[in-house]
């Protein structure tokens, strides 16, 4: 049998050394280690916190515990076989990641205007369903972090319906491989439109209930308002995107700005943080923006369902794999594509060499990775208990941070 792991006391300090040494600390300061297996870090994030009593002086993030070499794998796999790896980056919103990836490769091949409208509407439909599921996890676990157990259970109950719907569509609960380059794995199952409409009618009052239960709860407001305020200038300088940037008061949504897929044909609003409970850009604003986005996603889903059962109805001859290319060989070029994920701007940089079906380089610009980098700036000077509230409000998925 192969030797497994030979313990040596040096291993931890050598592989993940602290940034600060005890000589650098001032009188009264200490180093506190949180994670990597702490439940409130939402995965395997390790935080090195410099505290003075209970006041945070600095936070250093150590990550890489979930590094699965996405970019190295992508250098050895054909474009279509990378999609399952893309799923596993942001596993809370795999449909959105697939959508962005497929869109990028289609634009490189020059087939993006040949994609049937029905396919585009189905893509947007499943992506928005997944967006709600992702926001539910974000808000639910955020409540759990700061002591509210009931909203988490309510949200997991409703997310379960979403998971079942997506499972019905493609056979998997979280990691779908449903959106293919040039089309879809299958058409929607028969009866999906009706079942999904039923679910949306069920969900709409539930969203209001959840809002009343958690977002406008006095204890929740006390824990999150005026905590971790992120200024807009700082947010842009750090490249923050998604609900975090909108929470800081900028109406910036790539679905509107870039208008990709069928989003220009759909009506929805972009909610922004207004500082209703404290300051613009605090933890409460970010959570409120996520909650409002669930309402907007419901609007988009309703419009998609209407289109899918009228103008772009299912027909016997419809083949979602009609324009799926047999060989995916883009011409030599550098290409950057971006799309709005539940957590922010998800970008892919491709370099195609024009000779093979394998990308020469495929880099993922992960939104959680960039959003996490602002953590020290917004947590300095707060109390240690607020750090948990701040980390939760970033909505991290470590699979995407570490890739």
């Amino acid at each position: 049998m192969a030797v497994q792991y030979q313990y040596h006391p040096d291993h931890l300090t050598k592989s993940e050394p602290l940034k600060y040494t005890s000589d650098e600390l001032k009188v009264g300061e200490m180093i506190l280690n949180i994670g990597p297996q702490h439940p409130s870090t939402h995965g395997v994030l390790r935080l090195e916190v410099i505290t003075d009593g209970e006041v945070i002086r600095d936070v250093v993030s150590h990550m890489g515990y979930l590094h699965r070499c996405f970019e190295k794998h992508a250098e050895a796999l054909p474009y279509n076989q990378i999609i399952p790896y893309v799923d596993r980056m942001d596993y809370m919103a795999a449909m959105n990641s697939e959508h962005a990836y497929a869109m990028g490769v289609e634009r490189m091949l020059g087939i993006s205007d040949k994609i049937p409208k029905r396919v585009e509407y189905i893509r947007v439909l499943v992506a928005e369903l997944n967006r709600i599921a992702s926001h539910f996890v974000a808000i639910g676990t955020y409540g759990l972090d700061i002591g509210a157990v009931t909203p988490f259970l309510w949200m997991m109950r409703d997310r379960e319906h979403l998971m079942r719907l997506l499972e019905w569509v493609c056979g998997a609960r979280m990691l779908y491989n449903y959106i293919w380059i040039g089309g879809l794995f299958y058409d929607l199952p028969v009866g999906f439109e009706e079942r999904c409409t039923d679910f949306i009618n069920y969900l709409k009052p539930k969203l209001t209930h959840l809002e009343n239960l958690l977002i406008s709860n006095k204890i929740f407001i006390d824990r999150t308002a005026k905590v971790g305020t992120l200024d807009l200038d700082l947010a842009i300088n750090y490249g923050i995107t998604g609900p975090m940037l909108r929470g800081s008061g900028l109406r910036f949504d790539l679905r509107k700005v870039d208008g990709y897929s069928v989003y220009p044909e759909l009506e929805f609003n972009v909610p922004i943080g207004e500082g209703k409970m404290g300051e613009v850009g605090d933890c409460w604003d970010r959570t409120w923006v996520r909650m409002q986005e669930c309402h907007e996603s419901v609007k988009i889903i309703e419009q998609c369902l209407r289109q899918l059962s009228s103008d772009h109805k299912r027909t016997r001859s419809f083949d979602p794999r009609e324009v799926v290319p047999k060989k995916i060989r883009p011409k030599a070029q550098d290409f950057y594509v971006r799309a709005e994920n539940p957590k922010g701007e998800l970008g892919y940089f491709f370099r195609a060499d024009g000779r093979s079906e394998i990308p020469f380089r495929c880099k993922a610009r992960a939104c959680s990775f960039v959003n996490l980098s602002v953590l020290p700036e917004i947590s300095r000077g707060h109390l240690l208990a607020d750090l948990i509230a701040i980390v939760g409000s970033l909505d991290l998925v470590m699979g995407e941070v570490d890739r």
């Binding site: 993940e16 940034k19 590094h67 842009i236 550098d334 020469f360 610009r365």
Partner: protein, 160 residues
């Protein structure tokens, strides 16, 4: 503002720093000198008409032993004016070294640490250039084309 306008503005200001262009890439790209990247980026961010206030992505690429170069690709975006620009720059593969743009955009901090971690590119003036995804005592830089992983890591066989 189109790519041509941006190019004209930039070549008026820095006639010697631009080495070429690549209109085939999306967004269209300018090739610039690597040792001037910080000056160019600072100017692009502060210019009134350009105002590239966001660094979307920073990618390091190893071109392999044949060309003996490494490339850095900067994807810039201007939120108020909605224009894009790609900057590309080449460094020597044996001594990959160029100025950091962290003082221009804080986003670059972690992106540059990642490029250092996975490709071994060094950024001068970076405040905190440590490995970010891999452990500190990992040997080599995996995204280099000639990378061979170590046989054992802390007594665990790396090959599986």
């Amino acid at each position: 503002m189109t790519f041509e306008d941006i190019k004209a503005l930039l070549s008026d200001q820095f006639p010697d720093f631009i080495t070429g262009e690549d209109p085939e890439s999306t967004p269209a790209a300018l090739l610039v000198k690597s040792d001037r990247i910080r000056t160019i980026c600072q100017w692009l961010r502060d210019h009134e008409q350009l105002h590239f206030d966001m660094l979307s992505c920073l990618t390091g690429i190893d071109n392999g032993e044949d060309t003996n170069t490494m490339e850095l690709v900067y994807n810039l975006y201007s939120i108020p004016f909605d224009h894009h620009l790609m900057l590309k720059t080449q460094v020597d593969r044996n001594k990959p070294h160029l100025p950091s743009v962290t003082s221009v955009w804080q986003t670059a901090n972690w992106h540059e640490r990642e490029a250092f971690d996975l490709l071994g590119i060094k950024f001068s003036g970076h405040p905190d250039l440590r490995r970010i995804l891999l452990p500190d005592d990992w040997e080599g830089h995996p995204l280099r084309k000639d990378y061979k992983h170590q046989e054992y890591y802390h007594g665990v066989k790396v090959e599986y």
